[in-house]
Amino acid sequence: MKYRTTTLESLIKKMQTNINLSKGIKEFQKNNKVYYKYSKWKNTYQFRINNSIVFARTYVDLEAPYPDSLKGKLKLNFNTSQILEPNKELWVPNLESLEIGRVIERGLRANVINLDKLVIDSERVWSISLELHCFSLDGNIIDCGFLAALESLKNAKIPFQEYQIEKQDINWINQDCFCKTLYYFDTKIIENISVYETSCSDSGICFILSDNKIIALQKLKGGEIPLPKFKEMLDIVFDQYTNYKWDLILSDNIWNNLYKTTKIFKVNEQVKN
């Protein structure tokens, strides 16, 4: 989201005095509320962190491999709705969404999806197309998009029957992964940032971790970050990874507990089957 400089200056002044710009939705350094659900629109998964909403859908298809590498294929598209940027011209590609898509793709490719296991033979591989669509923007969009992508991939079905291929149990997804974006503003490190705070902050770094390793990193925005602060960010992310992880959120038990007790679950279950 872009603001005129006068608006930005007033927002920055408010942030310098520690005023929360999210109008009481959350405070600095507090954890977000994460919701997700299986929506009835064509097997999509909806993920929501605060008011950021991302829909994800995975298609799996059979294709010929690339000539220089015998591996499965991964194609990812991240789109933002035009509603989020009314000033922008229609059909002009959004560079920010392209960058977000590339960051998520890099994380998935590094250690989340095992593309080697998606090979059937030398002429056929499974191709995964992941479509992510953002309808509401309230900060943490990379984290939200990554979680939606992970949930969608976790539940993707490989169409063995359609192509008359012998069914195999392929363990191609590593669920032990964690995505966190931290922002830097005026010597302070901010996490769980809102959209207003994002536009005011100097810069941010997105960390994607898996199996106690860093698998993807990307610096967002152009501001400088002193190296000691960067190392502090790294410590914060590793602490959170070891203490929380996403296991709690993504475990099957919680998935069942969330929806079994409600009527919505029955509707969704029918669609799912």
Binding site: L98, G101, A110, N111, D211, K213, I214, L227, F230
Partner: protein
Amino acid sequence: MRANNRNPDSIRDINLVLNPVGPNSCLWEQGDTHVIVNLSRFKNLIFLDNELKSESSLKYRYAMCNFSVENRIIGRPYSQKRSIEISKVSSHIFQNLLFLKQYSKEKFYICADVLYADGSTRAAAINASTVCLASSGLCMKGYATSISFGKFNQEILVDLDGKEDKQGDADCVITLCKPHNTLLMIQMQGYLTKQEFLKGLDLALKQSEKIYKIQKRLVQENEI
């Protein structure tokens, strides 16, 4: 041992040519990676909306020429997702580095074309662009010095070449603002433990000093 008998913490030989295709251009040869950068400067422009002007007054375009690699670049190289992303990330660096408010009636276009790719192309493009901007006498906060590091054969290496980039376990590019040593850009893919990452960062920091000295020496020679 690496190609050209390099140590894990050593960088490839750097060869620089200033103004090879006209004023404000630079050819950066780092091993077999060859990048040519051209800075176009438009003066005395009139902007209707001064407030939003600063966002668009510097544009950066990174592209790999079709003949720079053996396969997979078909059609227009600058319309690829990778090129667009690198262009966007790199433009942030220079928008931050230049005092754009001092050049309120000017516009800058930086075009970086990779002539031959053998690893660390975006780092070479950023280093060459810095030389272009500094040698044209523009006011800057510092120099953007970029270097890559990664892991290949269980060893942390600095300044990866093409083979180490493709077959290695991890590939990371950092850009630092010299002499303040602040982080301007970082991009990583692969898998590194925290200790390995910090070790690579330290090695890259030491070697970036060498690149900074080369950039500075060339600019000073040009001024004389």
